[in-house]
Structures are given as C-alpha cells and as structure tokens.
Symmetry: C2
Subunit: 548 residues, 2 copies
C-alpha cells in the first residue's frame, strides 16, 4: 500500500488527491492544508466580495468532511508541513491550532503549496489597518467584513494585474470609488501596451481613477493615506495590495530541492522535482514554455488542475506528461473580456526574438447585420517566414475568449497562420461570420507572409509622415471627420483608381483606412499600378486606441 502525502489542499493538491483515489482505492492518501479550508474557489473570491456571487458557501467546492467521505482520505486542515526529510522520506507537520508538531512518513510526496501575494517592506504597511491582500477564504472574509462594517468611500487598488482589476470592478460594483495604481505603464501584463490601451480607456469610462507608471512609496496615518513615488497622495478607506504572487518555496528550499531563477520549484515533464520521491505542481513550480521550451511559471488554475491529474497518473504508473504552459488566460474587465494565449511582443523582445510579425484586426464578434455584434480587437503574432503562431491577444465585449481558445487549440495542434484560414468554424449570424475572426486573422497574416501587402504599425506612422512619407487615408470624407491621422491625404477607396495620378511618385507611400481592410485593397491596387505602398496595420482604429 503506497502512502502519499500531499501538501496543500486546494487546486493542485485536491485534484491530485481525487484522481489518486479514483486510480487507487488502496493508497493511503493524506492531504495537509495549513488553512481551515480546502478545495475552495480562489478565482471566485473577488466576486464574492463584490456581491456578484451571493453565497459564501458556493465558494467551497469541497469541504474536509465531504471530500474525506467521498474519497476515503485523511485530510488534515490547520496542518502545516514545516520540513521535509528527503532521505528519511518523512515530513514534520505542525498543528496550527496547538503548535504541536509530529512526523509523517511517505512513499511519495506531492507539493502544491501555491503562491503568496507579494508584500514588499513598504514603510507604514505594518501599521496600516486598512490594507489587504487576497488569496484565500480568511482574506476574503476580512475584506468583506471590513467593507460591510466600514462602508469605505474611497479605495486604492495597488497593482493592475487580473486580481487587482477584478477587485477594482467588484469594489466599483459595491459603490466604492477606486484608484488603481500600477507601476508599469500599462495594466494586465499578458497584453502589449497598445492592447492594454483599450482597457485603460474602459477602466476610466467606468470611473476608475487610473494611475500608471507610479508605485507606492509609503503609507501614512495607519494606511489612511497612500503616498506614491511621484509624490501623489491619495486618501483611502481601503487598500488592496495585489502586485503579484511569489511561489511558496520555503519547504522546498529548506529541503534543498532545485529551484528556478525566480524561486519556483523546478520540475521535469513528469512534474518530478530534483528528488525522485517528490513531485510538485501548481503556482509554486517552474515548468517549460510550450512554444519555446524555456523555463516558465504561470500561476493559473488550469496548469494546477492539469498537473495535479498528471502527478496522480504518474504515481499510479500511468505515463502522463505535462507538455508545457502556453499561458492562456482570460479576465473580465468590467464589460470587456480580455484574453490571451502564448507570447506577447514584450516577452518576445525580452527573449531577443525578432523573427516575427504581428497583425491587429477588428472583426465583429458576429455578423454585423445581426443585433449585438461588437468588434473584437485581435492581435496575432507569428513567426516569419514559417507562419507559426507565437501568441494572440483579444479584447472586446463578446466572443473574445472563444477566438483565443480556438487559437490556443491551433497552437497545440501545430497549426500555422496559413492553416487557421482553413479552420471550419461554426457560423450562423448570432455567433460569427462566414469568415470567422480567426480565419480573418489567418488571411491577413498570410497576405503579409505571401508578400501581397507590406505593413507598418500604429507607432511608426507619425514619424514616417514627419520624415516626408505620404499617408493616404482611403476612407470616405464623413468617416475622416470623426478622426484621422494628422498629415494624411484623403482619397476614398472607390475613387483611387481614377485619382491615381494624384499620388506623388517620389515619396514613400502609406495607406490607411478604419481597420486595415480598405487600406489593404488600396495597397493592392497601387501595387498593380506600379506604386509601392505600405498599409497601416489595424488602421485608424488601432492608432486611435492608443493615441485617440
């Protein structure tokens, strides 16, 4: 009879335990959880605080009792594993309530300790009585209680990652005014800055006071005042600190398990640590990037759940392997959905990867003539010349995560941008168009690969114009009145063939329109009249999402 100890009883740990029992009715399974609760819905916590999820109970996906009963396992909450004896194959456990410790031996040890909110040593933080982080049920209870009892008017959310933004949304939903402070020049790191711009506009529209490129210097007055690096002072009744998480690696570290550069527990494709009797999964580990095979640590629920099942399989002799993380994610940002998969440009640049191109398109979520269609801003990044998909980002009101999921699937299926033109996706007017946005992204990208059109980007055009380039905006005059790029010449697309002589022969020519489609057609017309031009990728829409 194998004895398996699991450290951590939530996403990764509980999944491992459940699968283990299904595979092996006889294994002795002991699951340790430091806190009171196991198997809770971490991802629902902000929505319970905001009242969107009304029942606290619904956050408890499983209880100690329920899970013990169903899976016949020994679940010990309020039990912290405080050290590992690798050679002796045993751990020391502290009963959190009594402080007493005891040892427990194992055949296999599984670590799923998760990640902790980062709490830097900011001056005044210790003394502050209104600053919270959010990870678990007790955190949630504290914040909820604080909100209900103190009825805060003003709040500050520090950190514009998905938890910060979800908290901002839920506080606004509760009627609390929110200032969101983010150190970087954009929120939501999975997105490139021009995509994040769309979110910035929306956050402001929703009444969030958005402060970018600024960080917290210190707290004053027991937290009632937040002072930023810039000197800006903000009065606040409630502050949420959500600047990221760091792996809970103390156990692993003290047991001398190999750690990655950023402190995550290193594991191989079997989720095995540097010790063959110890596996690790979830937020605490470093696996590999699915696309490049480089080290990757993505603290999200899908990997934790997936890895939990894989570890259980391996322990029971089934040859499952973790193929690496794509980093697919989605967040609700008030009325918008922001989803992404694979790499963004910032990441590629950091890795020194330059053999890629990107496109921005704005197709409707479904057929324009059927009510309720909204444009999706979709960015696709692909390797040249192979056309391999490196990443995708989508933001919009509807149908966004569908397209990102399709693209994530395409990446796992090894499909290139050419191949996605061939994806036969479901179409009826309420759901899509006869050429789905994903197909369209494939077409637009393939046209670049095939040399049918050359493009320039939103952040290049102003300089190109000031250097003497000529920008032809092929939209109709009425559209241009609503906004256009300074210095353009207007020749509506349908007049282009007749007015081709107006185009200077000795200048660099650029074309643009609303989203890029008509610019592309214009560029094709010009090319075949012997005029080389480049189309502004994403058109005025992408340009104005950033500068508008």
């Amino acid at each position: 009879m194998k004895k398996i100890l699991i450290v951590g009883g939530v996403a990764g740990g509980a999944t491992t335990a459940a699968r283990l029992r299904r595979l092996d009715e006889n294994a002795k399974i002991v699951m340790f959880e430091r806190g009171e609760y196991i198997s809770f819905a971490n991802c629902g916590l902000p929505y319970y605080i905001g009242g969107v999820i009304p029942e606290r109970d619904s956050l408890l996906v499983q209880t100690v009792e329920g899970m013990s009963d169903r899976f016949n396992m020994d679940i010990r909450n309020f039990s912290e594993v405080i050290s590992i004896d690798k050679e002796g194959k045993k751990v020391t456990v502290k009963d959190v309530k009594t402080g007493k410790t005891y040892e427990e031996s194992y055949d296999v040890l599984v670590l799923s300790p998760g990640a902790n909110p980062i709490k830097p040593p900011i001056k005044g933080l210790e003394e502050a009585t209104n600053v919270f982080t959010l990870r678990n049920i007790p955190d949630t209870d504290s914040i909820k209680k604080y909100v209900d009892e103190n009825k805060p008017q003003e709040s500050v959310v520090i950190g514009g990652g998905f938890i910060g933004i979800e908290m901002a949304e839920n506080l606004v939903h509760k009627g609390v005014k929110v200032t969101l402070v983010e150190m970087a020049d954009q929120v939501m790191a999975p997105f490139d800055s021009e995509m994040a711009s769309i979110l910035h506009t929306h956050l402001k529209d929703k009444g969030v006071n958005l402060i970018l490129s600024d960080g917290v210097s210190h707290f004053e007055n027991k937290g009632a005042k937040v002072v930023l690096n810039s000197g800006t002072e903000i009065n606040t009744d409630l502050t949420i600190l959500s600047i990221g998480v760091k792996p809970e690696n103390e156990l692993a570290k003290s047991a001398n398990l190999a750690l990655g550069e950023r402190g995550h527990i290193k594991v191989d494709k079997n989720m095995m640590t540097s010790d063959p009797n110890i596996y690790a999964i979830g937020d605490a580990v470093e696996t590999v990037d699915y696309i490049f095979g480089s080290p990757a640590a993505v603290p999200l629920a899908w990997p934790a759940n997936r890895q939990g099942r894989i570890v259980a399989d391996r322990i029971c002799g089934i040859d499952s392997k973790y193929s690496g993380t794509l980093g697919t994610s989605v967040a609700k940002v008030f009325d918008l959905t922001a989803a992404s998969t694979g790499h963004n440009e910032k990441a590629l640049q950091r890795m020194g990867i330059n053999n890629y191109k990107k496109i921005h398109i704005h197709p409707g979520s479904h057929a324009g003539y059927y009510p309720g269609a909204f444009p999706i801003s979709l960015k696709l990044i692909f390797e040249v010349p192979s056309g391999k998909i490196l990443g995708a980002q989508g933001i919009g009101y509807d149908g966004v995560e569908k397209r990102i999921d399709v693209l994530a699937t395409a990446i796992k299926g090894n499909l290139s941008v050419r191949d996605i033109t061939d994806l036969e996706l479901s179409y009826a007017p309420p759901y899509s168009s006869a050429k789905d946005p994903v197909n369209m992204a494939g077409y637009v990208a393939s046209n670049i690969l095939d040399g049918l059109v050359d493009v320039i980007y939103y952040n290049e055009i102003d300089e190109l114009i000031s250097n003497g380039g000529v920008l032809i905006d092929v939209r109709d005059a009425m559209e241009i009145e609503l906004g256009a790029i300074d210095g353009h010449i207007n020749i509506p697309l349908n007049e282009l063939r007749d007015r081709i002589d107006e185009i200077p022969k000795d200048k660099d020519i650029y074309v643009t329109c609303q989203v890029g489609l008509r610019g592309y057609i214009a560029s094709r017309i010009l090319a075949q009249h012997g005029i080389k031009s480049k189309n502004l990728d994403g058109g005025y829409k992408t340009y104005s999402q950033v500068y508008g």
Copy 2:
C-alpha cells in the same frame, strides 16, 4: 489579360470576385447574377422576417454599384447564364428582363449557382397562395409582405432543418402560432436523436406544435389546409416549405460536367470541375469529407466563402487547396444553441463504421459558483482504439459553439481525445472552469480508452435491467425523488464503500448518477473491490432528456 466569368453573385461568387480583383487588378471579371441582388446575407433572411434584424438594407452586404465601384468589375444582375460551350469557352446569357440572349467568352469560368429549396410535386402546392420557400431577397420580401398584410394567426413550417427552425422561431417572435412538421423522427439532422430530444422539449416549451415522423400528403383549399400522411389536418394561414435544398446543377449537367451521386458538381481539391477551365464552388458542389475523404456536399456559408477564395487563388497561380468539409454548423433554436462538427452516429452507421465510442457529458458553461452558468450537453464521438475525434455535438444556453469550434480546430490539428485533455483553454469564473468542458470530454473519453471504466448507454439500460441486471443509483435520496430509472437500487456514493456487501455478486452491475461523474467514481471503487460494473454514460440526465 485573363477574362473570368462568374455565375452567381452571392456567397461563393462575390467572394471569388473580390479576391480575384485583389490579386489581379487587370483581369477582366464579369459576374452574372440571375436575380436583382448580389452579395446579400442569406443567413439573415429569417431574422429580418421576424423583425430581429430591423433594416432590410443591412441584408445587402454589397450592392451592384458598390461592388462594381470598389472592385472595378462588370456585374450583371438580372442576367442568367443558360448554357456553357466548353469547347468554345463561352456561355450564353439571358437578360432576365428582356429575355434577350447573348454570348460571352471566357478564359476561366467559375460556377457558384448555389442550391434551390426543394419543392416536391405535392398535390395542391401549385394552387396554394400561402406557401413559401426562402432562399433570397425576393422570397423574403414576399413572406414579409404576406405576414405584414395578412397577419397570419396559424402557420405551418414543413421541415425541421435549421432554416425551418429559424423560421419557426421568427414566426413565434412575430406572434404567429407555429406547427412544425418533420418527416424524420427528429429535427436538425446534424444531431443524433438523443441530442435532438433536447431541442424537441425546448421547441414545445416555446409553444411550437411539433409533429415528428409525419410528412405532407397534400394541400387543400389553396393551401389553407395542410393534410399530413397520417391524415392529420392542419389549418394554416401561412406555410413555409423548408425541407432541404438541391444543387442548382442544370447548367453543369447540360454542359456534361461530371456530377456526384446526389447531383452536385464534382470538383477536386482545386475546386476544378471535370473541365479544366471551369471551377465550381459553394452549395452546388460535391467535395470530400475532411475526416474520411468520402464525397461530401454541405450547403453552408463557410465552405462557399472558403472555396471562393481558393478558386481566386488558383486562377491567379497561388497554390491554395480545399482540404475537405467537416460540416461544422451552429443554429440558434430559440434560447438554445445547437452546434456540431464532424460526423454523428447516424452518419457513421450509414457508412458502416463501428469502431467508435461516444460519451455524453453535461459540464457547466462556466464555473458553477459564478452566476449564469448553464449545463452544456456535449456528445463526443471518437475512434477506438486510436482516440481520433470523429464528431461532436453540443446543445445548451451558453458557451456551446465555443466548445464545438475548439473541437473543430482540434480535428484539423489532428488532436485525439487524449490530446484535448491537454488543451490549455482560457479560464476565469465567468467563462469556463479550470477543467474546460472540452478537457472534461477528453478525460471522460480517455478513461474509457484506458479501460478505467466501461460504459453503457441511455438506450440500453432499461433492457439490461429487465434482463436481470442491477442498476445502482449513487445519487442522494433527495435527488432520486426528482426522477430516476425504474428498477434502480439507491446507494449514495459516499456510503458505497460501507455498503459494498449489499451488492449482489452474481448479477451484472450497472451504476448511475446525475451526469456520470459519481457513477464513474462508484465504478472505480467497485472495480477495486473486485466488482465489475458499467457506468451509465451521461447519467440520469441523458436518459431523462430522451425518456423524461
């Protein structure tokens, strides 16, 4: 300068023309359309009749003038191509308004004539003044006018395909009572009967008088009475005949182009007909099935659009190929979404294919604790032992077409049911679960392939019980009160280990629960206590969707 004639100016034809012009500014392009309108939104017609799409203009994606201007092409509406001279490479065109004919020569001819609603020679149909078919704008105008002027109270829709169902929905939306008559024992042919059951229940809930397994015998009283084969008589103010479409093949036939068994124009992967100067696309053609390579004709907009672009490429020397049709489709059925891809069981049976298994699951559209989650009824069919995905069907209120699109993409990426456990799909509570329904389908299917569980199906259990098998329902007593399969024994899952002695050793044992999950766990427990059992796939939910 190449001269290209295109027959048919809507989905396939107009797409070909547009891409042709983008590729070749100098080609002479002539597009013939028999009707007044080109490039209209066929798929939106039912919704315009229902008033869901308020503006008639929005159905006209392009106009003759608009498209001629933009693409510098010769578009001739009211112009029917009535014969092809393959050897002379010319066609005869009839001006529909004047009846005059003329010839037009070509280098390349593209046929995209579409498909016509089937109008069988039913007695009384000719005389009927209130029976309509729906294909184009004039049909739409007629129906709309009839509805607005005659304010019908009662209507009959003949044929439960997607157009029939869309018309039923839109007539109900208009306040018209609908009787839907379908010859088969189910609506919506892409679905297997147990899935269609869900639609039947919903249609009835929405007030549709659903008559299955019955067809129209004849019309009486100028159409005011519909008499069915069974003898049933229905009074009707308005009848929509939507029993399917047949390819418009007269031109191709008279030109001796090779036709398929069901009369479609045969084409190869290049969309080339048996004549190398003639291409054909869209509803009129027979291509190949993506999965099996057998002949396939699927009259939907995606193939027409895709093929149009491919033909333009080929004409311009770009080596694009059509890889075959999966038949991915989606329809809104009142509040439900019904989507599918690949093959259903009926089709596999027809093809004599038996080396497959299937599963039915009912995962939530998103995390259950976040408001607005609804179960998706998802059926996945896969080859054994390879695990290759053969088809999928989904029905539910939300998130259905997303999962079908992901599965359609998985098929094109050659991913097996094992591989889809590894799809890293986007997760946040409003959008999915940490194990997406597609992952879950992969898990459930893999467990069968791996021999972890054996299953029986909703349509087998009654007989197995009456033959002496024992069905253990492992739900809680409270759930069972709401409905259960006759003859079951109730042992709640959490008591199973303790009550294992109650299970007869000499009988065939079956287990069930609400959706299959707890039955699976029970089956695993039993197996490891030496008791072989089979789990009822889809649980009581699938069973009751059919028999409930």
